[in-house]
C-alpha cells in the first residue's frame, strides 16, 4: 500500500477505529457455536473416568439406555481412532485404558441434554486400577508406569522427538557455543529452580461443536475452534476422510487464547453423529468439564543456571524445562520445543544449552495458551537476570541493556543472524524504564509495612508454526464497489479483522463501511489459512491480503486502461476512483469498473474483479535435531512490561498500581484495538501471576473446577493506570511494516511482578501464583528481618 489516499496521509491506518463487529456484540446478536441449533439435533453428554490410571474392565449402560429420550451410548471401542496436531496421541473416548480422572469413557446421546445428563449418571464402569504418576519427576523415574505404550506408533510431525518406552512425549535440545567453556569463564553463577502450576484458559464460551455426518459421507462441522482448516485436515488425516468431503464452519468465537487451536472435540462429535444414524449432534462442555476433561495449560518445573562476567555480560546459560503435559501432549510437544528454542529471550548469549521435555502424567491433558513456551521460559530467564543484577550489584535495566540482541549484528539462540529490521529492543527497554520512571523502591510513610516497588521484564516472540505454514486471501468487489474481504483467519476479538478491513479501505480509498468481512469462516468458502494462532493473523493473512489487493488493482487498471485508452502504468487508484497519473481530472469511479466497463454504445470489457493473494512462511526451517539450530520463525516482536506494585509485607497482598507495556510492532495499524490487547494481556498475565492455579488432590482429581475456587481477575482487581506505547521500527516484509503482538502482551507480565517484589525485598519468588500466603512465607524465610521490622512498625502504628 505505497499509495495512501490523495491527501498523502493515511485515512484509516493508524487511526483509533472501534471493532467492526461491535454493534452485533453489544446487542447480543453475534452468533456463537454455543447459540446454534439444528432442527432434530441430538445432545451429547460425556461420562468420565473416576480413576487416574486404570484398565476398563466393563462398561454397563443398560440402565442409561432406558432413560426416556436417550438414543444411544457410545464407548471408545466403537470409535478407536487417535487424533492430534503434532503427535496423534489422543483417543476420542478411552480405549481400554483411562489416563486421568475426567478422561471421557463413554458418550450418551439423547433428544435433550437433561435426559443425556440423567443417563450419564447411570452408567457403571468397572476398572482395574493401575499405578498412576502425577508429577514429571515421578513420570521420568526409571520404572515409572508408562501411559502410552504405543508411543512409537503414533503419527507425528518430523519436528518432534518422543522417547518410546518412557513417558517423554518430546525432547528438544538447543546447543549454541560451548557451554562448559562458557561457565568456566564466568565470574559469577546464579541458579534457580522454578515452578509453574497447571492453569485454565478460562475462555468464556465453552468448547462446543455440532457435527453432522451425512449419508453421502460428507461431514459438516460447526465449532468454537480457532482454526477451521486445521480441524479439517486433522479430521481428514485421523478419520481417513478426503478433506473435500469435510466442511468446517466457525462463527464468532467466545475466546480461545490458544485453547481452541488444533483439533478439539470435532472428531468425536462427527463419529457420534454417524453412530446415531447420520443425525446432527451437539456436544458442549460444562465449566467443570473445561477444568477436568478439556485440555488445560501445562505446568512446568525448570532449573536454570546463568554465568556472567564481572561487568555483567551473560556468558553462559543453561536451562532445563520439564512440561507436565498430562495424559496427552498433541499440542504440548510444541510448547516444550518452543520453550527450548526461544530460551535465551532477547539476549545475545554466546554459550547456551537448553533442554526441554514434554512429559506424560495421569492428569488432565494440556494444550497451547497465548504465547506458549514463552511465558514459561521468560519467567525463568527474566528473573535470573534480576538475580544476576543483584548478585553483581548492577541495575536490572543496565544489565539487560548490556546483553540485548543487536539487530543486524547478533545471532539468536538458534544461530540465525538477527535481521536489521527485526525491531529495536534497546529503544523498547529505554521506553519502558522511562515510562515506568525507574526509581528505587520506597516505603509508604503512612504504612511503613507497605513497600512500593517497580519491576521490569522483556520479552521476544514470533509465531511457532511449521516451516511451510501458509495463508490466502480474496478481495471480491460487489456492484456498488463495496468489497467482500475473504480471509481464513478467525475472529475471537483480537482486532485482526478490523485491521484487515482498514487495509482494504485504505488501498482503494473507499469508506470503511463499504468493506465487509463476514463473521463466518468456512473451509469451503473461506480461503485457506493454516491456523489463527501465534500472533500470526495480521502478519500472514495481512500479507496475503495485500497481494490480493495488488491483484485486484492490476485487474481494475487493466479494465480502466481499455476504458480510458491510457496505458495501465499511467493509472492509479485512490478515493474510490481510477485516475490518470498527473491528470487527476480524468478518472472513472470504481463502480463503473468492478463488474466490467460498459462503453456508451453498449459494448463492454473486463468483468467482475476478484483479487487473490497468498503467503507462505518461506525462509523458516526445521531445527537441527541435535542442536536446535535453524530459523524457527517469520518475525520477532520485541517488547516488555514494567509494573509498579504495592507489597504488603505483613499480609502478602500485592496491588498493581501502574502497568507499562511497550512493544515494537513495526506499525500500529489500529492503536485503539492494540491498547485493548495490551490491557487484556496485562490483566491475564497479572491474574496468572497472582491467582490462578488448578489444584489436584492426592488422587489426581481437579479440586477447584469452578470460578469460585479457580479465581480469575475481576474488574476490582484490574489496574486503571496504564502507559502503553508502540515502537514502530518497520519490518520490511511485514504488512505495512507491522508485526504480530496478540500474545506478546502477556508473556512478561508475571515475571515483571515477581521482579518488582524481588527488587524491593530481595525475596525471590520462583513459583506461581504469588498468593498472599506464599509471599508471606517467602518473606519470613528469606527476609525475616524485613518481616519483623514491618510487624514492629505496624504495632507501633496501633499505639
Amino acid at each position: 500500500m505505497d499509495k495512501p489516499h490523495s491527501g498523502g496521509e493515511y485515512r484509516y491506518i493508524g487511526k483509533r477505529i472501534p471493532p467492526l463487529d461491535a454493534y452485533e456484540k453489544v446487542l447480543g446478536a453475534a452468533e456463537y457455536t454455543f447459540d446454534l441449533e439444528i432442527p432434530g439435533m441430538f445432545h451429547v453428554k460425556l461420562v468420565h473416568s473416576e480413576y487416574a490410571h486404570a484398565r476398563i474392565k466393563s462398561i454397563d449402560y443398560s440402565k442409561a439406555i432406558r432413560v426416556p429420550g436417550v438414543v444411544s451410548v457410545i464407548t471408545g471401542r466403537d470409535i478407536p481412532y487417535r487424533v492430534g496436531i503434532y503427535v496423534g496421541d489422543r483417543d476420542l473416548l478411552a480405549i481400554d485404558k483411562v489416563l486421568w480422572i475426567g478422561h471421557p469413557v463413554a458418550a450418551v446421546v439423547a433428544e435433550n441434554l437433561r435426559a443425556a445428563e440423567k443417563a450419564a449418571e447411570l452408567i457403571e464402569v468397572e476398572y482395574d486400577p493401575l499405578e498412576p504418576v502425577f508429577s514429571v519427576e515421578e513420570a521420568l523415574r526409571e520404572n515409572a508406569p508408562i501411559l502410552h505404550e504405543n508411543l512409537d506408533k503414533y503419527r507425528r510431525l518430523p519436528a518432534f522427538n518422543p522417547k518410546p518406552g518412557t513417558n517423554i512425549a518430546n525432547y528438544f535440545k538447543l546447543v549454541k557455543g560451548d557451554i562448559d567453556k562458557g561457565f568456566a569463564e564466568a565470574d559469577t553463577i546464579v541458579r534457580g529452580r522454578f515452578k509453574l502450576p497447571y492453569i485454565s484458559h478460562a475462555y468464556m464460551e465453552p468448547q462446543v461443536v455440532i457435527a453432522w455426518y451425512r449419508y453421502s459421507g460428507d461431514i459438516e462441522i460447526w465449532s468454537s475452534a480457532q482454526s477451521p482448516f486445521a480441524v479439517r485436515s486433522l479430521l481428514s488425516l485421523s478419520l481417513d476422510i478426503p478433506a473435500g468431503k469435510i466442511k468446517v464452519n466457525v462463527p464468532y468465537i467466545g475466546g480461545g487464547f490458544g485453547g481452541k487451536a488444533g483439533l478439539g472435540w470435532e472428531a468425536l462429535a462427527a463419529m457420534i453423529s454417524r453412530h446415531v444414524g447420520f443425525k446432527p449432534v451437539k456436544l458442549m462442555l460444562s465449566r467443570a468439564e473445561q477444568f477436568k476433561s478439556a485440555p488445560v495449560v501445562p505446568g512446568m518445573v525448570a532449573e536454570a543456571e546463568m554465568g556472567l562476567s564481572r561487568d555483567g555480560r551473560i556468558v553462559a546459560y543453561r536451562a532445563k524445562f520439564l512440561f507436565d503435559s498430562g495424559a496427552f501432549a498433541d499440542y504440548t510437544v510444541n510448547i516444550s520445543r518452543t520453550a527450548g528454542y526461544a530460551c535465551a529471550g532477547s539476549y545475545d548469549i554466546p554459550n547456551i544449552l537448553c533442554e526441554s521435555y514434554a512429559v506424560y502424567t495421569n492428569k488432565v491433558p494440556t494444550t497451547a495458551l497465548r504465547g506458549f513456551g514463552h511465558p514459561e521460559n521468560h519467567f525463568v530467564l527474566e528473573h535470573m537476570i534480576d538475580m544476576a543484577a543483584r548478585e553483581l550489584d548492577q541495575d536490572p535495566v543496565k544489565i539487560r541493556s548490556r546483553n540485548l540482541l543487536k539487530p543486524g549484528v547478533s545471532t539468536t539462540g538458534t544461530g540465525v543472524r538477527l535481521r536489521e529490521d527485526a525491531g529495536n529492543p534497546q529503544l523498547v527497554l529505554e521506553r519502558i524504564s522511562d515510562l515506568l520512571d525507574w526509581t528505587t523502591p520506597e516505603v509508604d510513610p503512612e504504612r511503613p509495612w507497605v513497600i512500593r516497588s517497580k519491576g521490569i521484564a522483556l520479552s521476544v516472540k514470533g509465531p511457532s508454526q511449521p516451516p511451510n505454514a501458509s495463508s490466502s486471501a480474496i478481495v471480491k468487489f460487489n456492484e456498488d464497489a463495496s468489497v467482500d474481504v475473504m480471509v481464513g483467519t478467525s475472529n475471537f476479538g483480537q482486532g485482526t479483522v478490523t485491521g484487515l478491513a482498514m487495509m482494504v479501505a485504505e488501498a482503494f480509498g473507499i469508506p470503511l463501511e463499504k468493506v465487509h468481512v463476514k463473521p463466518l469462516r468456512s473451509t469451503d468458502a473461506s480461503p485457506y489459512t493454516w491456523q489463527t494462532v501465534g500472533s500470526r493473523g495480521l502478519f500472514t493473512d495481512g500479507l496475503a491480503l495485500l497481494e490480493a489487493i495488488e491483484d485486484a488493482k492490476r485487474k481494475i487498471k487493466k479494465i480502466a486502461s481499455q476504458a480510458l485508452k491510457v496505458d495501465e502504468d499511467h493509472l492509479e487508484i485512490a478515493d474510490g476512483k481510477v485516475y490518470v497519473v498527473g491528470k487527476p481530472w480524468i478518472s472513472i469511479p470504481l463502480e463503473k469498473i468492478v463488474m466490467g466497463y460498459q462503453f456508451p454504445d453498449g459494448t463492454s470489457v473486463g468483468g467482475p474483479v476478484i483479487g487473490v493473494g497468498r503467503h507462505i512462511a518461506g525462509l523458516t526451517t526445521y531445527l537441527d535435531p541435535e542442536t536446535g539450530q535453524g530459523n524457527p520463525t517469520i518475525f520477532y516482536t520485541f517488547g516488555g512490561t514494567g509494573v509498579e506494585v504495592e507489597i504488603n509485607i505483613l499480609t502478602g497482598e500485592i496491588k498493581v498500581l501502574k502497568a507499562v507495556q511497550v512493544y515494537d510492532i513495526g506499525k500500529a495499524i489500529n492503536p485503539l484495538l492494540l491498547e485493548g490487547q495490551a490491557i487484556g494481556g496485562f490483566v491475564m498475565g497479572m491474574s496468572r501471576a497472582l491467582y490462578e492455579r488448578i489444584i489436584f488432590d492426592e488422587f489426581g482429581s481437579v479440586a477447584n473446577p469452578n470460578f469460585s475456587f479457580y479465581y480469575v481477575a475481576r474488574a476490582k482487581d484490574a489496574p486503571d493506570n496504564y502507559l502503553i506505547e508502540f515502537v514502530e521500527t518497520p519490518q520490511m516484509d511485514g504488512p505495512l511494516g507491522s508485526r504480530g503482538v496478540g500474545e506478546n502482551v502477556m508473556i512478561s507480565v508475571p515475571v515483571a511482578i515477581a521482579n518488582a517484589i524481588y527488587r524491593a525485598t530481595g525475596v525471590s519468588i520462583k513459583e506461581l501464583p504469588i498468593t498472599p500466603e506464599r509471599l508471606v512465607k517467602a518473606i519470613r524465610e528469606q527476609r525475616p528481618d524485613l518481616f519483623e521490622q514491618a510487624f514492629k512498625a505496624y504495632i507501633d502504628s496501633m499505639v
Binding site: P18, P19, D21, A22, Y23, E24, K25, V26, L27, G28, A29, A30, E31, Y32, F34, D35, E37, L113, H201, A202, Y203, M204, E205, P206, Y252, I253, G254, G255, G256, F257, S286, R287, F492, G493, Q494, G495, L672, L673, E675, G676, I679, G680, G681, F682, V683, M684, N706, F707, S708, V712, A713, R714, A715, K716, D717, A718, P719, D720, Y722
Partner: protein
C-alpha cells in the same frame, strides 16, 4: 410441568417448563433468546444476567416457575426500541470495550442498570466493584470501566 408467561424484550411468551428448570435454560433453549449467555451455570460468572422486573438477576440461579408473570429484558431489548442502542451500548462500541463479545450482553445489562439506578452519579471505584460479579477474560476491564464512566452523562451524571 407448568405453563408460565413471560414478557421477554417486550414480547409475550408462554412456555411449558419443568418444576426444576432454570430460567436461563428456558430463555436459551425453549424461547431461543440467545442474547443471554452463560459460562458457569452456578452463579459465578454473571454472564447469564438479565433484567427481571427491573432488577438484574443471574438467570442460572432463578427457577423458571418463579419468574412466571415477570418481565425480562436482555441486551437486545435494552434500549426499549428494537435495533436501537442504549447509550451504554454506544459507549462500549466507542471505547472498544469488548473483544470476543461473549461477556458483552451481560456487561451492558448490568452497567445500564447501575447507571439508570444512580442517574449516572457513580464513581470509578463503585463501577469496578459493581461489575466484579461478572467475568471478562479478554479485555482486562479498563475499557469497560471507561465506557461506563463516559456514558454517565447520558444517564444524568457528569460523564
Amino acid at each position: 410441568m407448568a405453563t408460565i408467561t413471560l414478557k421477554v424484550n417486550n414480547v409475550v411468551r408462554r412456555v411449558e417448563v419443568e418444576d426444576n428448570e432454570i430460567l436461563l435454560d428456558v430463555l436459551r433453549e425453549k424461547l431461543h433468546v440467545k442474547s443471554v449467555k452463560a459460562a458457569c451455570w452456578r452463579g459465578e460468572c454473571g454472564l447469564c444476567t438479565v433484567m427481571l422486573n427491573g432488577k438484574p438477576v443471574k438467570s442460572c440461579l432463578v427457577l423458571a416457575v418463579e419468574a412466571d408473570g415477570s418481565e425480562i429484558v436482555t441486551a437486545e431489548g435494552l434500549s426499549g426500541r428494537p435495533g436501537e442502542l442504549a447509550p451504554i451500548q454506544k459507549a462500549f462500541i466507542e471505547h472498544a470495550a469488548l473483544q470476543c463479545g461473549f461477556c458483552t450482553p451481560a456487561f451492558v445489562v448490568v452497567a445500564h442498570y447501575l447507571l439508570t439506578k444512580t442517574r449516572g452519579k457513580v464513581e470509578r471505584e463503585e463501577v469496578k466493584e459493581y461489575l466484579s460479579g461478572l467475568i471478562c477474560r479478554c479485555t482486562g476491564y479498563k475499557q469497560i470501566i471507561d465506557a461506563v464512566m463516559d456514558a454517565r452523562k447520558h444517564y444524568g451524571g457528569e460523564g
